[in-house]
């Protein structure tokens, strides 16, 4: 391994891929190494696919031998689905609700492999469906699939979804996935996705959470500005295992079995209901303790409580690693001086955080192990990488350290000496920081842990907590939003909803800096600017070779960490509760209901 312990260069990467090809290294081993250097599992498998190693088929664990007969499935989302058009889904709740009825061409499993749904097979280099130049991918569609109203599902439907989502007038939330690609119909059961540039990450359009396909014959008259009027928005007609019965926004989604579903012996349940509302703790209770419901979504509950509820033996907690990362951002600009109606303005310099020694000391003062052990438990893992790093794949090379003595030594050496009040200062500037986050119990506890350690090193931390609805809003008039970052340190979870890290790593680009001029919509909140990072990123975007590109993104992660732009704290996992008898595969890279056709209950 190269410098700093976790960078991996292109040559090494090629060597690894060759080892997989020749069978010296397992696919799993390869994925594990990619995760350790900060790539996602789907990215790793895409890398293998484009190098000619076929995707692994995840073995099916589905046991029922006939369709239906499973009774009523009851699932609980404490934030109910508010709309059922996947192209307008605002959060996972809407995507999960839509997924009962609508399906993508393929979905991501927990290991980052693609599993075909409406596609007949996964594109690959062997049969030429994946172009060698990375500029196109051909999807073969399943034949004999019908919509719930009996009309056949064809390539026209797939092409239509691209047209529908890319129309700016529709303001679809999936537009980013579709606006830069071109989709062509080859024949009735084949479509081709074309990219302007060689695109190593080819499985974004029509795949996973953003890839669900709606029927052309019901939506063709409701494109663009008319999208709100489509009757099918409220009465979805899809290809999925369940057919629509009733929908009350925010409260209830109901469906019944699709007797003509194209997959054998599926689905297992005769009907389902997805109930919304309430809070996470009582949802956990309704599954783990009373067994009234079979499944509950997003258990943002302290692990201690979950462990206690599990003791009854009625239910279990399912934890799946994904791309969510709780991190602390260090402001590079001066948040305390107002210039032209704007604080933390570009061009200003943070009076104390601009000293690398101070940044280094702060990274040494975040006791991630304690945060994991005492706050998040099984639901999160201490991490050194900005891009996700699940526990079982944790590299021995990536290291983070909690060391108060070392932090003290670093600060002493840099000339920060303790004043009469025990707070370090230099040239009249004191090490006093305001550290903000949203109101959320685990976050306030984390703040306390950091504050305590900093006190021992002569750094004074003032903690501040802002209501989540204000903190995460894009309200231009409010000074307390996270995008304004009008303080020294702040902490929140950034999500990597799409498996390709390119979009994710955009948030450290100079051109993405959040400023008054762009209404703080830029994604670079720390306002960090590095020519090396920008050049590296641009090189990655233009890179034709997928392996080189991967190496470039590994370097991007490395730059963010070694420059202490952010301090990663905890990789947070997706946590769901289900009854002991329910079999439901979870994946951190796709919807919670990504595998809904395979859900069943043990008799």
């Amino acid at each position: 391994m190269a410098k700093k312990g976790y960078a991996m260069n292109e040559r090494e990467l090629r060597g690894l891929i060759d080892s997989v090809k020749t069978g010296r290294l397992s696919r799993r081993g390869f994925v594990r190494r990619m995760l350790a250097v900060g790539l996602t599992a789907p990215m790793a498998t895409q890398l293998l696919a484009i190098s000619g190693v076929a995707m692994a088929q995840s073995p099916s664990t589905y046991k029922p031998t006939k369709r239906g007969g499973g009774g009523h499935l009851k699932v609980l989302w404490w934030q109910g689905a508010t709309l059922l058009n996947p192209h307008f889904a605002v959060g996972t709740k809407d995507q999960d609700g839509s997924r009962f009825f609508y399906e993508p061409l393929a979905g991501w499993d927990a290991n980052g492999n693609l599993k075909p749904v409406l596609a007949e097979s996964i594109p690959g280099r062997e049969d030429g469906t994946l172009a060698a130049d990375g500029k196109s991918v051909t999807w073969k569609l399943r034949k004999g699939v019908t919509w719930h109203d009996g009309k056949p599902f064809t390539a026209d439907d797939v092409v239509f979804n691209w047209e529908y989502a890319r129309d700016p007038a529709a303001a679809a939330t999936t537009s980013a996935t579709y606006k830069d690609v071109k989709v062509e119909k080859v024949d009735d059961h084949t479509v081709k996705v074309l990219f302007d540039q060689p695109t190593p990450f080819w499985a974004l359009a029509f795949v996973g959470a953003q890839g669900m396909i709606i029927p052309k014959h019901l939506y063709a008259d409701y494109m663009g500005a008319k999208s709100r009027d489509a009757p099918a928005n409220l009465k979805p007609v899809g290809t999925g295992p369940y057919m629509f019965k009733d929908f009350k926004p925010g409260d209830m989604v109901q469906g019944v079995i699709n007797p003509k579903y194209y997959m054998e012996n599926r689905p297992y349940f005769d009907s389902f209901e997805m109930k919304g509302g309430g809070d996470a703790v009582s949802a956990a209770r309704a599954v783990l303790q009373t067994g009234e419901y079979d499944f509950a979504w997003n258990m943002q509950v302290e692990d201690e409580i979950l462990l206690r509820l599990e003791k009854g033996g009625k239910g279990k907690v399912s934890i799946s690693p994904g791309g969510n990362i709780e991190h602390i951002q260090l402001n590079t600009t001066d948040p305390w001086t107002e210039v032209d109606g704007e604080r933390a303005r570009l061009g200003t310099k943070h009076p104390t955080l601009s000293d690398p020694a101070v940044r280094e000391a702060l990274t040494l003062l975040v006791d991630k192990d304690s945060v994991e052990k005492y706050i998040y438990g099984r639901t999160g893992n201490a991490t050194a990488n900005f891009v996700n790093n699940p526990e079982k794949f944790r590299s021995k090379n990536t290291k983070f350290e909690f060391n108060v003595d070392k932090a003290n030594a670093v600060l002493d050496k840099a000339g920060w000496n303790k004043g009469g009040d025990g707070i370090r200062e230099k040239d009249g500037k004191k090490l006093k920081f305001v550290y903000q986050t949203s109101i959320n119990q685990p976050r306030q506890k984390t703040q306390a842990i950091v504050k305590q350690a900093c006190q021992k090193a002569g750094i004074d931390i003032e903690v501040k907590a802002v209501t989540a609805s204000v903190f995460f809003s894009s309200d231009v008039a409010n000074p307390d939003t996270y995008t304004k970052f009008y303080c020294d340190l702040q902490m929140y979870t950034t999500t990597m909803t799409q498996p390709d890290p390119e979009l994710f790593m955009k948030q450290c680009l100079t051109e993405e800096q959040a400023t008054k001029a762009n209404k703080w919509q830029g994604r670079n909140i720390t306002r960090w600017s590095s020519k090396e990072y920008d050049d590296n990123f641009k090189a990655g975007q233009a890179e034709l070779d997928p392996v080189k590109r991967a190496a470039i993104f590994i370097k991007a992660n490395d730059l963010v960490i070694t420059n202490q732009v952010v301090i990663p704290v905890i990789a947070r996992h997706a946590v769901q509760a289900m009854t002991t008898k329910l079999h439901a595969n979870m994946s951190g890279w796709d919807n919670n209901t990504w595998d809904i056709q395979d859900w069943f209950k043990e008799a």
Binding site: H72, V90, G250, K275, D279, S282, R285, F472, T497
Partner: protein
């Protein structure tokens, strides 16, 4: 009571409703938060999407333009649509209304059914053992917040005993008697929590109203005429004592429509209250505006009804 008075009252309602709408609208416009913040926080969605949605839904216009548009649409019967679900607001409210009426209405009924006899009995026998017990229980009842009693009931009856479901569903699949039985089982806890809470404070009102009347001369006269105790209580005492209670109950009617925020959240009753909460959480202003506005109109309206009722029940009160 003159007809002139009624007409004047009705005319006065218009400026107050208008004033309420101005206040509600500006408070909502000034409140921090953004209906598309979830989009903004998601790196997979380009900022242009949120920006074009804001423009499309008119969120970038100045407040007074937005108010003008809203008022104009409202006068034509268009309530606007929800940002979160893109469904017309009135559809959303109508979906939630039946559940609200059933659950909260039943709770109010329970409150009255409990409060009337208990309050009257306690009032006619002040400082008896019954009165003391009723008083103590009433104090306990309205001192305990519904979120506490609700959780307590869930812990006892759902978790420990496993007798009752803790989640209220509007889609019971059973039919016939089975349906009524399941509906009864799931309604009993929310109705009991709300009804007993309301009932507890109502008991205190009924008792003091009865106490005021019970020592009046006309009651003594009625007794001395040799009328039975039962008739004295029902025909002479309760009838007079009920006047303030009736007004009180009339003023509580809007609450039935408004739902019960806390109780609905705990038991997942899909009523107007839980609609309001989720709309507030997602900064879905059209829904919040519509629900609060309807509630304020109802308050104004029932105030009017109470005034009229009062004059009708007690002809000594005259309006000019």
């Amino acid at each position: 009571m003159s007809r002139q008075y009624i007409i004047r009252r009705i005319l006065l309602m218009i400026p107050s409703i208008f004033g309420i709408s101005v206040v509600l609208f500006s408070v909502l416009a000034l409140a921090p938060g953004d209906p598309f913040s979830e989009l903004a926080a998601n790196p997979a969605i380009p900022p242009e999407v949120a920006a074009s949605l804001r423009a499309k839904f008119g969120l970038d216009d100045p407040v007074w333009t937005r108010y003008y548009h809203w008022l104009l649409a409202m006068l034509q019967g268009d309530w606007g649509f929800s940002f979160a679900s893109r469904i017309n607001v009135e559809t959303l409210i109508l979906q939630r209304l039946p559940t609200t009426l059933i659950v909260i209405g039943a709770a109010q009924l329970l409150a009255i059914l409990v409060a009337l006899p208990v309050g009257v009995l306690a009032g006619t026998r002040p400082y008896s053992i019954f009165d003391q017990i009723a008083n103590t229980l009433a104090f306990v009842g309205f001192s305990l917040p519904t979120f506490f009693t609700g959780l307590l009931l869930i812990l006892v009856f759902s978790v420990q005993l496993d007798w009752l479901p803790m989640v209220y569903r509007t889609d019971l699949s059973a039919t016939g008697w089975q349906w009524y039985w399941e509906q009864f089982k799931q309604s009993i806890m929310p109705i009991a929590v709300l009804g007993l809470f309301q009932g507890a404070s109502l008991v205190r009102y009924v008792r003091s109203a009865v106490l005021d009347v019970v020592r009046l001369d006309y009651v003594t006269t009625a007794r001395s005429k040799g009328i039975g105790e039962r008739a004295v209580v029902i025909r002479h005492i309760v009838r007079t004592a009920l006047i303030p209670v009736v007004t009180l109950v009339a003023l509580q009617m809007p609450v039935i429509f408004g739902g019960a925020l806390v109780t609905e959240q705990i038991f997942r009753v899909p009523g107007i209250g839980s609609l309001l909460i989720s709309a507030m959480q997602s900064n879905d202003t059209p829904v919040v505006m519509a629900v609060t506005f309807v509630l304020s109109c109802l308050v104004v309206f029932f105030n009017f009804i109470a005034d009229i009722l009062y004059g009708w029940l007690d002809p000594r009160i005259s309006y000019r």
